[in-house]
């Protein structure tokens, strides 16, 4: 179809421009009318850190070395993952005015939510660096692997975000389901506990959880100064791209019905 108007949707420059204005829009909207503004993206993980530290270190007396750094290195990626999926479940419904605009490239919306959450994550990284330095941990060469781990997490989150966003339009129950699943998964994921000591059959089973695999990789780099195990990360990258492509296909199939069902 010789239709530049449609062709424009697939031009990379157009997609880049749209991603940029929509991520910026996300930020402006979030903080426009809040007093503390962007500081909220730091306050949420810090509050969680304080609570978990008191409960697990002071009261339950877990003996994990460098516990504050350990916690924060788990909390930040987990918050990125969790809030991405929760917001992407609502993104299409919440942006229905945009979705109904002629020629709006709906397919960018889940990516926009994951991108904005990633920016919050990146903004909080300096805080993590401060905690690492306080704990006497120095950066090592392993740090070069960090962007790669972030990239794998991005791919994983985006691929799940497409599935969640598609389901939400069909079934409004999805957002509750996502909330429950994330809550349960947060306990299965070593955010505040360390599972490196548990016996073998269980260890492998736990590592099937993609977020467990990612958090272990973050901690290997940041706390132990080691390169993360390559195999699980590579497997995760392959898995994410497979889920991403099927998620995109499902999303694009369903897209035509979004406007009718909103």
């Amino acid at each position: 179809m010789s239709h530049r108007f449609l062709a424009k949707q697939w031009s990379l420059i157009y997609v880049r421009d749209v991603l940029r204005v929509l991520v910026a829009r996300d930020f402006k909207l979030r903080y426009k009318r809040s007093v503390l503004g962007i500081a909220w993206s730091l306050l949420v993980p810090l509050a969680q850190l304080a609570v978990m530290y008191i409960v697990f270190k002071e009261i339950l007396r877990l003996t994990i070395p460098h516990y504050t750094s350990f916690l924060l290195a788990g909390i930040l990626p987990w918050i990125w993952f969790q809030s991405s999926l929760i917001t992407s479940s609502m993104t299409i419904v919440e942006n229905r005015e945009l979705v109904k605009q002629v020629g709006f490239p709906i397919a960018v919306l889940p990516t926009v939510t994951v991108l904005s959450q990633m920016i919050h994550f990146l903004l909080a990284l300096p805080i993590l660096a401060v905690f690492l330095l306080i704990d006497g941990l120095r950066p090592t060469l392993a740090l070069v692997a960090l962007p790669l781990v972030i990239l794998v997490q991005f791919a994983l989150t985006v691929s799940l975000a497409y599935i969640v966003a598609t389901l939400q339009v069909k079934f409004r129950d999805t957002q509750y389901l996502v909330g429950i699943c994330l809550l349960l998964f947060s306990y299965l994921t070593p955010v505040f506990w360390d599972f490196s000591g548990i016996p073998e059959p269980f260890y492998s089973i736990f590592m099937l959880n993609p977020m467990a695999c990612l958090l272990t990789a973050y901690r290997a780099i940041l706390l132990h100064g080691q390169l993360p195990a390559a195999k699980p990360l590579a497997a995760l990258a392959v898995l994410s791209s497979m889920v991403l492509s099927s998620g995109c296909i499902v999303f694009l199939r369903a897209r035509d019905r979004f406007v009718e069902e909103l």
């Binding site: 179809m1 108007f5 402006k28 945009l98």
Partner: protein, 254 residues
């Protein structure tokens, strides 16, 4: 761009479109219930076997009363939905949809921020937006308010800004849905003037409206829809006459 390689600007061929009567979000609960009770959603046929062809540079009005299928026809043209059967083709360059003006605006963002977002969505690059920004604001007669949140605007101001952004992209196809009454009288004249400019520049115009008089100046051809079928298609004078007579008969009979 306007007379491109023998394709019509818009082509509808044997188009059918129906909606489920209870379309919309379905809770899992309903889904589960439907699994046990066989359930066929009632179909509502918005368009039945519609065919027409609009050439580049033509200006065409779609008339008909509420529920005749006018909005569905526009939604199909703008690809907001797809036909159940048949073919919808749209050829040419940019579309400027003057539908639901300002719907994509967010009340908490300033006029300027909204302009930049909307223009980017319409396909303008950042440089184009910067270049055209002043003329967009000037045309809308917003002045210093441009840096205030949109929720402080009057409806007229918001419509003016939306119209101004929507038409800044130099479109080849203009789709108009009863927005000629934008803002106050002075601005309505300005809008008409801009639309007539597109008309003189031989852009394709597809227009939907109840008010037949504005249509007669703007369009040369009309398509009359009734209950999803084409009743008449031809010179606007004739079709509008026929439509009015039918309406009157209907009123007398009813």
């Amino acid at each position: 761009m306007s007379t491109s390689n023998g394709y019509p600007a818009i082509l509808f061929q044997d188009v059918w479109k129906s909606f489920d009567r209870h379309a919309g979000q379905i809770l899992l609960r309903d889904r589960l219930r439907h699994m046990f009770h066989s359930h066929r959603p009632e179909k509502f046929h918005a368009l039945r076997d519609i065919s027409f062809r609009i050439e580049h540079g033509e200006s065409v009005a779609v008339i008909g009363h509420n529920g005749a299928g006018k909005s569905t026809l526009l939604n199909l043209t703008t690809k907001l939905c797809r036909p159940d059967r048949g073919v919808v083709e749209v050829h040419g360059g940019r579309i400027a949809p003057l539908l639901d003006l300002g719907a994509g605006f967010h009340p908490d963002l300033t006029g300027a921020e909204n302009v930049c977002i909307n223009a980017a969505l319409l396909g303008l690059s950042r440089r184009d937006v910067r270049k055209q920004f002043d003329s967009i604001v000037d045309f809308a007669e917003i002045g210093d308010f441009i840096n205030e949140p949109l929720r402080t605007y009057s409806t007229g101001m918001m419509m003016r800004l939306a119209f101004s952004v929507a038409t800044c992209v130099n479109p080849d196809l203009l789709i108009i849905d009863e927005v000629l009454g934008v803002g106050d009288l002075g601005f309505a004249v300005k809008c008409r003037e801009r639309i007539m400019q597109f008309r003189r520049a031989e852009k394709t115009i597809l227009c939907v409206s109840h008010s037949n008089d504005t249509l007669k100046d703007l369009c040369e051809r009309a398509i009359w829809l009734n209950k999803g079928e084409v009743m008449d298609d031809g010179p606007i004078q004739r079709v509008v006459e026929a439509y009015k007579n039918a309406m009157q008969e209907h009123a007398v009979a009813g």
